[in-house]
């Protein structure tokens, strides 16, 4: 009996091997093209806005939207993308926020083979070039260094004696490219403001509770701190909460990045100094619009100059001065995005 079972199991796996003999990629199907987005998770407001943006764009062009999440697992992300290709028979375009930059080559090879157009955001290794792949429409990103630099300088300005004091930094996930870029931006700001000293930095893993704990512990080591720089808004909210308990909220300010509604409130209340809003709805809208245009032949990918294949668009810098305007523009009403000119917000090419 045992032998039969083992044989069955081995036959099953071999079957899978043999079938790959006939692997041909998805068959082109008639019918509406699916708009698919591969993102990290749905469990945080910023990432959830990817979905909102994609659905809004889908509605405007009358096409169905599928959402895939990686949940911090690169392999799951890649497998889900392949599943989506299988599902639609290749009649799909992608917006992808890769889990890690090392996923890009694998994804590009898979989608190139399947003939599926896609656009990536945030993560791309510097020496992998978009123009080496036929179906990789573009890689777009916000300038992480600029974000860290902006929040850093805004934070320094908020000190009791501006640009002079001690700052504590809560980094994101170690080994994560955007986190590292934002931190680089902070260091650039520090280099320009020699009066400011970075007393210590820790890794907060994008986690609000962790940032709360670390800030409380930090206040023991450096009670005379002047500001807390955080790599994203979630952690910034945790830091604000810890400062509130110590009676320092409003005296010691905090900065983040992402632009979640809570942090806008904190800026209004004077407990946070600044944040950088990455407009997720625009991100997915633009990504899907470009990929769809490529698929429909309206955008000739191969003919695009290199500067339009890898580029950055500016994020929205938010501080006390413009927070009310931003909330009015982006939260209370959804801006009317214009996706007819893909490069309207083009700021700088990524080399």
């Amino acid at each position: 009996m045992r032998r039969i079972l083992v044989t069955t199991a081995i036959v099953l796996l071999s079957l899978a091997c043999v079938t790959s003999l006939f692997a041909t990629g998805g068959q082109e199907q008639k019918g509406p093209t699916t708009l698919a987005i591969s993102i990290r998770t749905l469990s945080n407001p910023y990432q959830n806005n990817y979905k909102v943006g994609a659905e809004a764009f889908g509605k405007s062009v009358g096409l169905p939207v599928d959402v895939l999440t990686t949940e911090a697992n690169s392999q799951k992300g890649i497998t889900d993308i392949k599943a989506e290709v299988a599902k639609t028979g290749g009649n799909v375009v992608f917006f992808i926020d890769p889990n890690e930059e090392t996923d890009d080559v694998a994804i590009a090879k898979i989608l190139d083979q399947a003939g599926v157009y896609f656009l990536t955001w945030w993560n791309k290794p510097a020496d992998v070039k978009v123009w080496n792949f036929k179906h990789w429409v573009a890689h777009v990103s916000f300038d992480g260094i600029a974000a860290g630099y902006f929040t850093g300088t805004e934070l320094f300005k908020s000190f009791r004696t501006p640009n002079k004091g001690k700052v504590f930094a809560i980094q994101g996930l170690l080994a994560n490219t955007p986190a590292a870029e934002r931190f680089q931006g902070l260091q650039k700001a520090l280099a320009e403001n020699t009066g400011v000293e970075l007393v210590q930095w820790v890794a907060g893993d994008w986690d609000r509770t962790k940032a709360y704990n670390q800030t409380r512990e930090m206040l023991i080591a450096h009670p005379d701190i002047d500001g807390v720089w955080c790599a994203n808004d979630d952690m910034a909210m945790g830091a604000i909460q810890a400062l509130k308990e110590a009676g320092l909220a409003g005296k010691v300010l905090v900065t983040g990045t992402d632009g979640i509604p809570e942090l806008f409130d904190a800026i209004k209340a004077g407990t946070a100094a600044a944040t950088v809003m990455n407009d997720a709805k625009y991100q997915t809208g633009l990504g899907l619009a470009m990929s769809l245009a490529a698929k429909q032949g309206k955008l000739d990918v191969a003919a695009q100059p290199q500067k339009y294949r890898q580029f950055e668009i500016p994020a929205v810098n938010v501080n006390k001065a413009n927070v009310d305007q931003i909330v009015h523009d982006y939260l209370d009403s959804t801006p009317n995005y214009d996706f007819s000119n893909f490069f309207a917000k083009w700021s700088v090419a990524i080399p």
């Binding site: 749905l42 945080n44 709360y212 409380r216 512990e217 080591a221 979630d234």
Partner: protein, 345 residues
């Protein structure tokens, strides 16, 4: 069985090394009997290292206050997990249960999102939610006969998905301040939340030491078949333990969201591993039958003190995981009472 034997023989066969470390007569004997001498020793080692490393700042009243305050929630969770571990199982449902409870706290307490305000009713509601989740895990384990690892892991994923769906990934800012006092207040300089955690630990420890339920717990953990043959209603005890664990997670969820002043599903993330680590470091054998609430609490305290010390010492974040690992292994290596365990698994 091991558990019972330990209770009988533990006092008699005291180890030479530990006797040297604790020449305190009756107090030492009590610690040995209670099975926490090793953990107290590791805690002392950790404290000593950091106290020297930070030139005493680690022992400042302000820092001790921070450690106690931060250790409270992990303690509550670890105490919930440890009872299941004593039974010989494991409870991985923490993250899902906490996520769902936190989301409901956000939606039901006074918040910026909707007009709900259930006030103090939130306490029975979250405890009830947690309890029901635990109860279902217990049923899964006993009636469907599914190993607790998978039953609770599945439960965690189910509830996590539900929490994300209910919250739609949004963060809800809490406006309610009635519970704020509980998590921020202090009594004679001791954080109130730590006292609450302590009360729970003492309460559970008394139950474990003094009641029939407690004896049955260790009997099942030691040898379930024997316990069953001796007439213990194993099924009922197991379901009660899972439900109790759920209550603890519900309470932890309430404190977590009140402390952060907000509610989001990801608040539940990164709670499981520290809790299980605390349980293991506290000397609760993962094979079951050994260790009580005091062990779980000490474990949580050690883990929290360790994290706090690493930050105060300004250990390079890249190396923190390694230092954490080395200290954990060293602490357990120095203090584990190997005579109790027979073969280490």
């Amino acid at each position: 069985m091991t558990g019972l034997r330990e209770k009988v023989e533990g006092g008699k066969r005291a180890g030479g090394r530990i006797r040297i470390m604790l020449p305190l007569g009756t107090a030492g004997a009590w610690l040995r009997r209670a099975g926490v001498s090793g953990q107290i020793l590791s805690l002392i080692i950790v404290i000593a290292i950091f106290a020297i490393g930070t030139r005493g700042r680690f022992l400042s009243p302000a820092n001790l206050q921070v450690i106690l305050s931060l250790a409270a929630i992990p303690t509550i969770i670890a105490v919930g997990v440890h009872q299941v571990v004593v039974l010989g199982g494991i409870d991985l449902s923490v993250e899902g249960v906490v996520a769902l409870c936190v989301v409901f706290v956000g939606l039901l307490l006074r918040n910026k999102f909707n007009a709900n305000d259930v006030g103090l009713w939130i306490l029975p509601i979250t405890l009830g939610l947690g309890g029901v989740a635990g109860f279902v895990s217990g049923i899964c384990n006993t009636k469907l006969r599914i190993p607790s690892f998978i039953g609770t892991l599945g439960m965690s994923w189910i509830l996590w998905g539900l929490a994300v769906f209910v919250s739609r990934g949004q963060t809800v800012a809490l406006l309610d301040t009635r519970f704020q006092e509980l998590v921020t207040g202090t009594v004679f300089g001791i954080p109130l939340i730590a006292l609450i955690a302590l009360a729970l630990v003492v309460f559970l420890q008394i139950i474990q030491d003094r009641t029939r339920f407690g004896r049955y717990l260790y009997a099942i953990g030691g040898d379930e078949v024997l316990a069953r043959q001796a007439g213990v209603n194993v099924t009922r005890i197991k379901i009660v333990v899972f439900t109790l664990a759920g209550f603890f997670y519900g309470l932890a969820a309430l404190f977590l969201s009140t402390r952060l002043g907000s509610s989001q599903a990801i608040t539940g993330n990164n709670l499981l591993f520290p809790a299980v680590t605390a349980v293991a470091v506290g000397g609760v054998a993962l094979t079951g039958g050994i260790g009580g609430a005091k062990n779980a609490a000490l474990g949580a305290l050690i883990v929290t003190a360790l994290n706090d010390g690493l930050i105060l010492l300004n250990v390079n974040p890249y190396a923190q995981e390694a230092v954490n690992g080395v200290v954990l292994v060293a602490a357990v290596a120095l203090t584990i009472d190997r005579r109790k365990l027979g073969f280490i698994k």
